[in-house]
Symmetry: C2
Subunit: 151 residues, 2 copies
Amino acid sequence: MPKDDCNTSGDRLYQMLATLKSHDFRITPQRLAVLKILAASEDHPSVEQIYEKVRVEFPTTSLATIYKIVALLKELNELLELGFPDESNRYDGKKPFPHPHVICTKCKKIMDPELTSFDELKEEIARKTGFRIIHHRLDFFGLCRECQKVE
Amino acid sequence: MPKDDCNTSGDRLYQMLATLKSHDFRITPQRLAVLKILAASEDHPSVEQIYEKVRVEFPTTSLATIYKIVALLKELNELLELGFPDESNRYDGKKPFPHPHVICTKCKKIMDPELTSFDELKEEIARKTGFRIIHHRLDFFGLCRECQKVE
DNA sequence: GTCCGTGCAAATGGTTTGCACGACC
DNA sequence: GGTCGTGCAAACCATTTGCACGGAC
């Protein structure tokens, strides 16, 4: 099992619940539903997609609430936001720390590639710029295997 | 001189003018003013900053026009957009192709680091994911030398 | 019972659009 | 002179905010 993908969806759910509790945030049905979806999602969902899934179980849930829960989890570092200029933001609840993404510009699929040569790059940056690097963002855009075929 | 920073500001201006002309776009005073600013800017300006500079010379220029010119240059691949989730978008007219950036989260300065170990990373990605990589985005966020001192 | 979280609707703000006038070619 | 570009104001739309009710603890 890859070292940075070692959490089962149950572990992630438990971890997120623990973080909420330790900061004295209440565990509401809406929050629990969002946590479950994020802990289980393989597909980097958008707020709208989370909303649709939550509404299956809780049809009265409002979009504003989803936004608030997402903002809270982001604040607690339990959710990684992948913001895009056109506001088609996507979220990663399984690996809430910076890591590279590969994005298909056709089908909008987002994958997590395994990389070995990144740490070296990060160190080179710090050495050459004098910056204290806090976090980063690395996206590759292109066509996935499937979309290359049908093109 | 670094190989990917070989254009003087005059060369970039000429290049951008040539691209506009070759696509039969008119050279208006507003467009020329924006081109000059982009060709000379070292600081990855925002639309608002471009707007303020253009207004020094042409006080009647509207913000919408700047947006239109920026969109046009982006379309013609003469301008790199660095979009951020909070819409504080920034633009690079000197190197309109994807390249890494180092961003100070305090003073908002954006720099272009020199990197040697990036190509290798890109190749590793393509090999491991099967994607045909078209472009990429690599940002490092942190504190620049100056902001580390005053912190 | 208290106070936080939710749902609703209105506000926000960067960006885009429609349209008529004016200017580039 | 015809057409493209500009300036203005309104529209847009994802996201945020204010507020009163309801539920978690």
